[in-house]
């Protein structure tokens, strides 16, 4: 944990209430996110117990499986879920914009601009916690290889229509969620911990109820007291007042309420089905409300300037998967081949670098952490001396002297960058420390001043101006281009098999083994 975040946690612990970790919102929040609060049956990997899902906080759709060991009931749940989620996901497919992209012409080998579709907006799924994201991935894996009767009339126990499609979308959401800064699938605990520091450990922050208590406690109660109550307070029957955010249920709920209710359902007692639905809803509803409460808190923060830029990447991701589905491509493989895995890793690394840079530029509080780490420095300009580059056509290379309290890790000639008001970046090179005691140093501007002999107005800082230089690039580029898959060197397994063998669906057995 960076020292500045440790300090924020300690301030929160001393004050008994959360402290801000960001001054702007660093994630895109959709106007109409789809909130999905799932519950799973304890000990079973592929047996959901219930869910609340929807875009209307007042009217969530309740789905419940009265007996998770019954394959038909599980399938009915998945079918209902697909009916609730897919129209939302598809609802963004047709609102498109045109974007120009450079593509290699297969005949001439030249890069030519082409017009491609980009969806104007994209769906956004919000689950309560990190475990919820994992559950979406798991459900995606369990559904995408299923066969419907339409796909394969011979298949035993065909899945309801749309279920494999939902599996493919859930898999895509789950994969995308691994890209730093992406916003197609978000967890509320992840969102809140990005923006606030609580006075407890990161481990305890995984409890959504406790986390919200620190950030937004009920009136008259300290955040700490409210969090401890949310974690462990139980009613007279031993049930948690604040049920866990799932997908795992509380064992006391399973043993004392759910199991007897399921037994009554199995005995086909009248009213047992309704009772089960009521029980499941009772566990889900507090979490549903908590997710929306968190949503409100986050929306009160102004969005960071570069959030829209990252959301555009999410829109590209959504558009690309829409195209794959429309083209009838097979579902995502069970395991990535070496080439795909390497690409994914490098794109996630690039996204992380980009996210780190953008968050720092958007938010002085994040920049403060980078300054503390010696990766940026801010100060006041004390003098500007005009100088020119050597060569046939001398260009302006002004020397800017500034005073800073920061201790950047600079060596001579190190490149530094500064954001210009128009959104551009001005590069410079570190020259020397003039007086280490007073923090005075000089940099030489190397660009961002136009093409003329005289710098464009406003492109050279004036004495007295406050400037912030970073040692990291503002729009970091990924590493060198990777070879085409067919040129994969033998060190990396050689070219992949010509025809990727489609993954077989999971075998279905006559006995329902769950």
């Amino acid at each position: 944990m960076p020292l500045i975040e440790t300090l924020a946690r300690m301030e929160a612990a001393a004050a008994g209430a959360a402290r801000p970790l960001a001054t702007v919102r660093h994630r895109h929040l959709s106007e109409h996110p789809l909130v999905f609060v799932p519950l799973t049956t304890s000990g079973e990997a592929g047996a959901p117990l219930g869910a609340l899902v929807g875009t209307d906080r007042e009217k969530p759709l309740l789905l419940a499986v009265p007996q998770p060991r019954d394959r038909d009931l599980r399938f009915a749940f998945l079918a209902e879920l697909a009916d609730a989620v897919l129209p939302y996901v598809d609802g963004f497919a047709d609102g498109i914009e045109w974007e120009e992209r450079k593509e290699t012409d297969p005949e001439t080998g030249k890069k030519v601009p082409v017009q491609v579709e980009l969806c104007a907006d994209a769906p956004q799924l919000i689950v309560p916690s990190g475990a919820g994201i994992e559950f979406v991935r798991l459900m995606g894996r369990s559904m995408r290889f299923r066969r419907t009767a339409e796909q394969d009339p011979e298949t035993p126990y065909p899945a309801p229509p749309h279920v494999p499609l939902l599996g493919r979308w859930f898999t895509h959401f789950g994969e995308r969620a691994q890209v730093p800064g992406s916003c197609l699938l978000l967890s509320m605990t992840g969102l809140l911990t990005r923006h606030w520091a609580t006075g407890q450990s990161a481990l305890e922050d995984q409890h959504l109820g406790a986390l919200l208590s620190w950030i937004d406690p009920p009136p008259g109660v300290s955040g700490r007291a409210a969090a401890e109550r949310a974690e462990s307070a139980r009613d007279a029957e031993g049930q948690l007042l604040c049920p866990p955010a799932g997908p795992a249920t509380d064992p006391a709920f399973d043993n004392r309420l759910l199991a007897p209710a399921m037994a009554r359902y199995d005995a086909a007692l009248p009213g047992a089905h309704e009772e089960l639905r009521r029980l499941v809803e009772g566990q889900l509803r507090p979490t549903w409300d908590a997710v929306w409460q968190g949503n409100d808190l986050l929306r009160a923060l102004p969005p960071g300037a570069r959030v829209a830029d990252r959301w555009k990447r999410d829109r590209w991701s959504y558009t690309a998967h829409r195209d794959r589905v429309r083209a009838g491509e097979p579902p995502q493989p069970k395991r990535d081949d070496a080439v795909t895995a390497a690409r994914k890793l490098s794109s996630r690394e690039a996204a992380q670098t980009q996210l780190d840079a953008q968050e720092a530029l958007d938010d002085p509080l994040v920049m403060a952490a980078r300054r503390l780490a010696g990766e940026a420095f801010a100060g006041t300009v004390t003098g500007v001396g005009m100088a020119y580059s050597e060569g046939a056509r001398p260009m302006p290379r002004p020397l800017v002297t500034l005073r800073t309290d920061d201790r950047p890790q600079l060596s001579e000639g190190a490149k530094v960058h500064r954001p210009l008001p128009g959104g551009k970046t001005q590069p410079a090179a570190f020259v020397a420390y003039d007086d280490p005691a007073s923090g005075s140093l000089t940099v030489r501007l190397t660009g961002g001043m136009g093409r003329g002999k005289v710098p464009e107005p406003g492109s050279v800082p004036e004495p007295g101006e406050a400037v912030c230089w970073t040692l990291f690039e503002h729009a970091p580029r990924g590493g060198p281009e990777r070879p085409e898959p067919e040129d994969t060197p033998w060190t990396h397994g050689g070219p992949p098999a010509t025809e990727p063998s489609g993954d077989a669906p999971d075998p279905m057995t006559a006995e329902d083994f769950l």
Binding site: L3, M10, P20, D250
Partner: protein, 442 residues
């Protein structure tokens, strides 16, 4: 799945056997009570010690610095009841669905006399011997009275199986581990004896292995548990090898059996547990120091709850109990919440003390000699308390710089000046917090 319901035998709980410390007939110091007696005193009269199962031993190994846990577990104190009596009950429990699923899965794995399990084992471990044919797997009966009886029966069965030189599946054998001077009994799901005298521990877990990958944290926990079994088996193997003259070797690769994908059909993977084995061996050896921990306690310290006649209600005042618990140091970290029944109590104390570890183990790294949140915030306060010339603690300097940068950024933030912008209240709280810590600074 394999939590043994066996309890340790009642050892030396007769209060009459207590050394006559109270008898003032001589000036000589009372004879030093044995560790076993001391641990019995700690537990309270007539209280049977809790069995230390492999899960508890593995948890102990994951927080080796905690003297409190080492002592309480070593003495066999019922930590669940203790936490309840202290007013900070643990939020543990196992769902009956998970239990039922675990049992049905284990039954399925061991069906048909273990033939399927042996096939999986042979396929995954590739021991270099021919696979067992139908009906070639011996499954000896291990039932006996009491844990010692079962442990003795298991040792005998292992000896016979090794001498026999065939495939043998031991279903739920009982093994003894020496913990702090008294035996603890642990029960693996299964042990397989190979024809070449190799022994393999089999762990059957009900978390899924999806496309050949299982949850890393759960696999780690299973491996730590298996390490306890391997340690317990090594002692028996030594005896068997000496007794039969045939090689008997406990393999350090165990077989982890899990449900495949989303079904209840078994799949398996070999897990190398050499690292866990080394850790657990070291921790268990370290546990012998329980004697030292017990010796450092104030005299007459006990964790006895003084249960009322109903056997569940503690009549001992919580403050008295808390004082007894405080007399032995704990090493609380948030990870304890998932592994120790007393964690909520220790957390409460840790938070009251303002210990920096209550925010996570990693926090300590950058804080040098600062141990409490109060100290850290004081060090971060804007005024310079260092008397002239004294070399400044680099941790304090970094903290002060961090606090100044943080305050500056918050003051400049767009929401900072606005009226109660959502939850971002009191945005100059940094300064306020410092002020509370160091009023003289203003």
């Amino acid at each position: 799945m394999s939590v043994p319901d066996a309890r340790l035998p009642q050892v030396n709980v007769s209060r009459d056997s207590r050394p006559a410390a109270a008898a003032p007939q001589t000036e000589q110091p009372a004879p030093k009570p044995s560790l076993r007696q001391r641990l019995t005193e700690l537990r309270g009269p007539g209280i049977r010690p809790r069995a230390l199962d492999a899960r508890a031993l593995a948890a102990l190994a994951s927080n080796p610095g905690c003297r409190r846990r080492a002592l309480l577990d070593g003495a066999g104190v019922d930590k669940t009841a203790l936490a309840q009596a202290l007013g900070s009950p643990a939020s543990y429990g196992q769902s009956r669905f998970a239990l039922a699923r675990g049992n049905s899965f284990e039954a399925r794995v061991k069906a048909d006399g273990g033939a399927g399990l042996l096939r999986l084992l042979h396929d995954r471990l590739r021991p270099g011997t021919p696979a067992p044919g139908d009906g070639e797997v011996a499954v000896p009966d291990l039932s006996a009275a009491g844990p010692e009886g079962r442990a003795a029966r298991t040792a005998l069965a292992l000896r016979e199986a090794t001498a026999d030189g065939g495939w043998t599946l031991l279903d739920h054998p009982m093994l003894a581990v020496e913990v702090a001077g008294s035996p603890a009994y642990v029960e693996p799901d299964a042990v397989v004896v190979h024809p070449d005298g190799g022994w393999t521990v089999v762990e059957i877990k009900s978390f899924p292995m999806i496309d050949g990958v299982a949850d890393a944290a759960k696999v780690g926990a299973a491996a730590r548990q298996a390490a306890v079994y391997v340690l317990a088996l090594e002692k028996v193997a030594g005896h068997v090898a000496a007794g039969t003259g045939r090689p008997a070797e406990v393999r350090d690769r165990v077989l982890l059996v899990c449900p495949k994908d989303f079904s209840n059909l078994p799949t398996a993977a070999a897990v190398d547990i050499r690292k866990q084995l080394a850790t657990t061996r070291r921790q268990l050896a370290r546990l012998t120091r329980i004697e030292d921990i017990a010796a450092a306690l104030p005299p007459r310290t006990t964790f006895d709850l003084r249960l009322a006649d109903d056997g569940t209600t503690a009549t001992r005042p919580a403050e008295e109990l808390a004082a007894a618990v405080e007399s032995v140091g704990a090493a609380y970290a948030p990870e304890c919440l998932a592994a120790c029944e007393l964690a909520f109590h220790c957390r409460k104390r840790s938070r009251e003390d303002g210990a920096v570890e209550s925010l996570g183990r990693s926090v300590r790294g950058e804080l040098g000699a600062l141990h409490t949140i109060g100290e850290v915030l004081t060090a971060a306060a804007p005024c310079t308390p260092s008397p002239g010339g004294a070399p400044e603690d680099p941790a304090a300097a970094a903290l002060r710089r961090a606090a100044a940068l943080r305050a500056e950024a918050l003051a400049a933030a767009p929401v900072a000046g606005g009226p109660a912008a959502g939850p971002v209240r009191d945005t100059d709280g940094a300064g306020a917090a410092h002020g509370r810590q160091e009023p003289g600074c203003r």
